[in-house]
Symmetry: C2
């Protein structure tokens, strides 16, 4: 499957978090590349949120998912890392991988070392780096000027989900992890997304130093647009809306490539999504001098309208 030899091995940096990064990394790890995942550290829900609140460490959830994506299927620790308790007072709902990372953070004294140690234990291919090691919370100002604080409150809206997000912010403002900046500056390709626009992708760009590093890097800058919209975040968004929002925070003319899926999921699948107020993202973009648009079938429509890891990875690897 390798189309590059070790001498011209591509240095690929993936920026995101959540399911989108998981999918992309699972595809990319099959190629011989120098792969780095830069991961959002603003998650505040579920097992991660509880650990974050109780231990005062950075949230482990997105890191765990990226480590899993990059760990070999043969790793016996993988099953344990993935395990979630379904019983037990106080244990119920906790992911063992999250507890692992929390313990490693306590033992090693810092997040970056904890992730490095977990990477070794799992024998992962590539690197996982936190976008920041500073504590912060994600906030959103809605179109009615209402302020919502906490990633999970934006992700699962308890406010009127029809209200658009006007502005995202991080408080207190964190600084980019220097390892992440270094990886960006040395990359051949920087892939932003796919993933929840306001809760997984953009939080990375809001971190001080990230926008500058991405702009400065000589890498090809690629945005992978989502396949479906998301209630309370990107209702009715087309591909052009996603790109507009990315450019609002990243600056114009920074992104060189947009990868869009152009294959509509099956009708029965779309109907299921419709119930959750999620629709197909129309790939309404056209090539310009500044922005090359790659439209192709990226759909893994067996169960869910999600990116197929292999199709997506191939498109990125072959981009020239």
């Amino acid at each position: 499957m390798n189309i590059y030899n070790s001498e011209n091995m591509q240095k690929i940096v993936v920026i995101g978090g959540g399911t989108g990064s998981y999918t992309l990394l699972r595809g990319l790890k099959k190629y011989e590349t120098e792969l780095t995942a830069i991961v959002s550290m603003m998650d505040s829900g579920g097992s991660t949120g509880r650990l974050r609140d109780e231990f005062g460490f950075l949230p482990p959830g997105d890191v765990r998912r990226c480590l899993l994506a990059l760990s070999p299927d043969t790793s016996s620790l993988r099953n344990l890392f993935e395990y979630r308790f379904k019983k037990g007072m106080g244990l119920n709902g906790h992911s063992l991988g999250n507890l692992f990372l929390t313990a490693l953070r306590d033992i090693t004294g810092n997040e970056a070392k904890a992730i490095e140690e977990a990477s070794k234990l799992l024998g992962i291919k590539g690197k996982v780096l936190p976008v920041t090691t500073n504590h912060c919370h994600l906030g959103a100002i809605l179109e009615n000027k209402q302020v919502v604080v906490g990633e999970t409150n934006i992700d699962i809206p308890r406010h009127d989900a029809e209200l658009k997000i006007k502005k995202l912010f991080l408080a207190p403002k964190p600084r980019a992890y220097k390892g992440a900046v270094k990886a960006i500056l040395e990359a051949d390709k920087i892939v932003i997304g796919p993933g929840d626009l306001y809760t997984s992708v953009l939080p990375n760009i809001l971190v001080s130093g990230m926008k500058q590093a991405i702009a400065k890097s000589k890498a090809k800058k690629i945005y992978v647009c989502n396949i479906m919209t998301k209630r309370g975040e990107t209702t009715n968004y087309k591909a052009s809306d996603f790109v507009r929002e990315i450019e609002k925070y990243l600056g114009e003319k920074v992104i060189n490539y947009v990868i869009c899926n152009n294959k509509k999921p099956a009708k029965n699948l779309l109907a299921k999504y419709k119930k959750e107020q999620a629709d197909f993202v129309e790939p309404d973009l056209k090539n310009t001098k500044k922005l090359r648009v790659v439209k192709t079938n990226l759909l893994d429509d067996i169960h869910l309208a999600r990116h197929d890891p292999d199709k997506l990875a191939k498109t990125i690897i072959e981009l020239k």
Copy 2:
């Protein structure tokens, strides 16, 4: 340090649980032997007790300690396995190793496989086997006929600690794990103890099939007597009392060797133990035709009046 070559490598089976087995195994693992730890599964206190109650699996605590004793100091998973949460609702007090074993039990479907999988992950030297895979509780009948049920209730007495234990029992009566029986039958040396007599050592012998297997085995049968007595269990016991109790459950003439420490701990250390109603165990035994008594300095008196792992292991290895 090896005094045996691989051809006549000693097959040593250690029967116990708790700190005693941990100490002994740490010493024995430095020698080239075929080492098997058979571990009591009746623990009901602390993190272990909570997991046992909430998940309905066998208690992981003693297994965890033996795995730790046999894992290489260089294993990076070791630190995690040893880690104990000191915060977190429902997490506080839990050992990550116990959570590990509980998750592995859930994933693999049985205790023996879970221990095997954990042994591989930790890269342990030797084998750890459960004495039984049947659920049971430890009970004691006191001299006033009061019945106390639950290992932790015997271990940390809430009853009158002056009352002697007249009889120990397991309910419901469990069967010995066949792997444990096999190891006993094939052993060159069987080492019983050291460890809390009624809560770590004897519970193993009460398991159906254990007494018979030990009697049948052609191995040298060695009992390692404790250095100090324990409040509520062995108050005022001398070495002869320990042996009498062992023989009460194991049968007479089964034990061939008794190893006793004959070095009294320092006075200030003894004074500290005295506050917890624990005294030095007098090595009051004499050699007989049936029972050879080895009295030697086994004391690690730097911090606690405990067995020195190396002194104890050397004594056992060199026993002929």
